[in-house]
């Protein structure tokens, strides 16, 4: 899923200077799971904005709404009525969500409340790890389901390097060496022959940016 992080309140306030009526718009999918922009985070952010404005003597109107997926036009369209009531929308979705809202309501300025960070997964409560670089040329079949491109500090295709130290990375001793993890996983699966293969440099243009995928419905 997409992992995002809220911008500092100071930055959000600076973006919203001068607006009296705001819609704080959340997304019920990835950013809900990573505690950045779901229904609860929308309520917290709206409350913070009201408290901060009160301090300055303003009382802005803040509407709150959360849609299931902000990156889908059909779901965002339902908010037309709310968007028409406000001067600006503050979106707590990933960049795709912000752009969907901006495209659907071109007359209303849309501001991002989050920084979209990476594609990852929850590790433990409150911790999310990047584990996919969306490179467009998946390598996981050869590495036991552990991605060296993103989890190895050097992104090595033929590892480990000389810097592996008892299973830890020389770049950051807190982190596991991805290639040690790969070795252990392949050993567990009896596929160590894959470690002996040489993999040539990858095609870094597998995805021409901006990416586009067309598919027929199943």
């Amino acid at each position: 899923m997409i992992i995002a992080q809220r911008k500092p309140l100071e930055d959000i306030e600076a973006m919203l200077t001068g607006y009296k009526k705001l819609l704080v718009l959340g997304c019920g999918t990835c950013v809900t799971i990573c505690w950045a922009g779901g229904e609860k985070e929308v309520a917290i952010l709206a409350s913070q904005l009201r408290l901060a404005s009160k301090k300055d003597g303003n009382e802005p109107l803040t509407l709150e709404a959360t849609v299931e997926r902000q990156c889908e036009k059909e779901l965002v369209e339902a908010l037309k009525g709310s968007v028409q009531q406000v001067d600006a929308v503050l979106s707590t979705a990933c960049g795709a969500g912000v752009q969907t809202v901006a495209e659907l309501f071109p007359d209303t300025p849309v501001y991002p409340a989050l920084n979209t960070m990476f594609v990852g997964m929850p590790d433990r409560e409150g911790v999310w790890l990047e584990n996919c670089r969306t490179c467009g040329d998946c390598f996981l079949d050869r590495t036991g389901g552990i991605c060296p491109i993103v989890r190895c500090a050097k992104g090595l295709l033929n590892g480990p390097c000389g810097g592996t130290n008892n299973g830890k990375c020389e770049v950051d001793p807190e982190k596991d060496c991805a290639w040690t993890l790969i070795y252990r996983r392949l050993d567990q699966q009896g596929r160590l022959d894959l470690m002996r293969k040489y993999y040539p440099p990858r095609n870094f243009q597998a995805v021409i940016r901006p990416g586009k995928i067309e598919a027929l419905p199943a």
Partner: protein, 139 residues
């Protein structure tokens, strides 16, 4: 709910029904004196308190919030008091971000028979809030 402005600071005390609420009762029963600006709200467990309850209280114009729960490892719901403690920490940082001193919200633990401790907490929190001369949301 609109919190009425009093001369002394308005403090909301969210009290766990298993401990702090009974302690508040005990304080009354023991005829202990504590400031009358503490508004007690009974909750089934301190773990019921969410960051949003605390933020909303400040939006309504309170000057301080107390979250009072059971001692650690004495929660009827096992982790309610631990969760409350973490949420109070989170609320402190959220308030700090908007320029409200984080010391305006605090969590304390107490047992149902600690009436005197309830009175002490109420008095100390009132004194603390009086000392904090920073931002006061206009109710």
């Amino acid at each position: 709910m609109k919190v009425q402005k009093a001369t002394s600071p308005n403090i909301i005390a969210f009290c766990c029904a298993q401990s702090a609420y009974q302690a508040a009762d005990a304080a009354g029963f023991m005829r202990l004196s504590y400031p009358d600006n503490i508004r007690v709200i009974r909750v089934p467990c301190a773990g019921r308190i969410d960051v949003l309850h605390i933020l909303k209280a400040f939006e309504k114009g309170v000057d301080g919030v107390l979250v009072l729960g059971c001692h650690e490892e004495a929660c009827r719901h096992l982790l309610g008091n631990i969760r409350a403690k973490n949420r109070v920490q989170k609320a402190k940082s959220l308030l700090q971000e908007v320029g409200i001193d984080g010391r305006r919200v605090e969590m304390f633990t107490l047992a149902p028979n600690q009436g005197p401790r309830f009175a002490t907490i109420a008095s100390e929190m009132t004194e603390r809030i009086k000392e904090l001369d920073s931002m006061k949301p206009q109710g």
